[in-house]
């Protein structure tokens, strides 16, 4: 494979791995890496293999770009989807990230469930509610014949108030989870992007 073919092959793999970015963002990155390779080729004792090896595998390089931008976007975004994606990416980097992802998942599932319950109430008024009884206190959607004969001591207490209550609780859960996740991302932002190797010169201490 010629030098040009090797470079083009690397850059096309990089381009392919930078999915999720706009075309202009992607091309800007690819062009910068192309110029880096050309610049390095102009230096003495540089060959394409060692330059590309220095950049690391194309998919890992793309991963660093995507992780950095996703986390940065998630710090500002209020979209649970963007934040969950960032948390999922974080979860792949270690225990800390995994715990944060669990918090995000629990928070958003709770919020989503409350909102879903509020939406279901008009369609299933008899089955959606806050059920209270001996040893029981839960918001849920009850299906089937369990609420009919014989009359259960567990009964529904909120009635149509369930809708505003669930809307408020659901929105609060989503908002608090988002705020908490954004705080954690800012607090631990040093550790989030996967950064490649950083070396000291042999036998030197830089600090």
């Amino acid at each position: 494979m010629t030098s040009d073919a090797q470079i083009n092959d690397y850059l096309s793999r990089l381009r392919k791995s930078l999915s999720g970015m706009t075309i202009s963002e992607r091309e800007d990155i690819v062009e910068e890496i192309r110029m880096h390779v050309r610049e390095r080729l102009g230096e003495s004792q540089a060959n394409v293999e060692s330059i590309l090896a220095g950049l690391g595998p194309a998919d890992e390089l793309a991963e660093q770009y995507r992780t950095g931008l996703l986390v940065q976007r998630a710090q500002k975004s209020i979209s649970p989807l963007v934040i969950l994606r960032a948390a999922l990416r974080w979860a792949t980097t270690g225990v800390e990230g995994f715990l944060v992802f669990c918090v995000a998942l629990v928070g958003y599932v709770t919020g989503g469930s409350f909102l879903l319950l509020a939406l279901m109430k008009p369609f299933f008024p008899e089955n959606a509610g806050l059920w209270v009884g001996p040893g029981q206190f839960n918001f849920s959607l009850r299906m089937g014949a369990t609420m009919t004969n014989p009359p259960s001591p567990v009964h529904e207490v909120l009635g149509w108030w369930l809708i505003p209550v669930c809307l408020v609780l659901g929105s609060l859960s989503l908002a608090l989870t988002t705020k908490l996740l954004q705080f954690l991302m800012r607090r631990f932002r040093w550790k989030v992007p996967r950064i490649g190797a950083v070396h000291a010169r042999p036998a030197t201490m830089a600090f």
């Binding site: 950049l55 950095g68 040093w190 950083v198 000291a200 010169r201």
Partner: protein, 132 residues
């Protein structure tokens, strides 16, 4: 007679890992500081870091960091036609970037001075042991 201090491979590995983590933590400050005197392109930043701070980065590392700093509004970039015959993407600090770099440099100096007092006896002890 000089005392022999044996360091196991495991201890050495732990120290290396700790040092690598410390360097990673300082990367953002180092990149911002390298741009303090004016605009530079990626490879120049790598060379400045290597020359002035002995931070040798894997070459692919610098570009995602610069991209993130740009997205955060700490640096701005522009393509400039260069004498080399191909364009270069230059980066320079924004006012927010200058503020962040100043803040980080101050925090670093305070932190390092504080820690310096704490580790001074450790280094002195080392000197005494070596002179024995």
């Amino acid at each position: 007679m000089a005392k022999q201090v044996s360091i196991t491979a495991n201890e050495l590995e732990t120290t290396d890992r700790w040092e690598a983590q410390m360097r990673k933590g300082c990367l953002e400050m180092a990149v911002l500081a390298s741009l303090w005197r004016g605009r530079l392109y990626g490879l120049e930043i790598l060379r400045v870091l290597e020359r002035d701070s002995q931070l040798v980065l894997a070459e692919g590392t610098i570009y995602p960091i610069l991209n993130r700093l740009r997205a955060e509004g700490l640096v701005q970039s522009e393509w400039v036609e260069a004498e080399a015959g191909h364009p270069r993407k230059y980066y320079q600090l924004t006012s927010a970037g200058r503020e962040r770099a100043t803040l980080m440099a101050k925090t670093w100096t305070q932190f390092s001075a504080g820690l310096g007092c704490l580790i001074e006896p450790v280094l002195k002890r080392e000197e005494v042991e070596q002179s024995l």
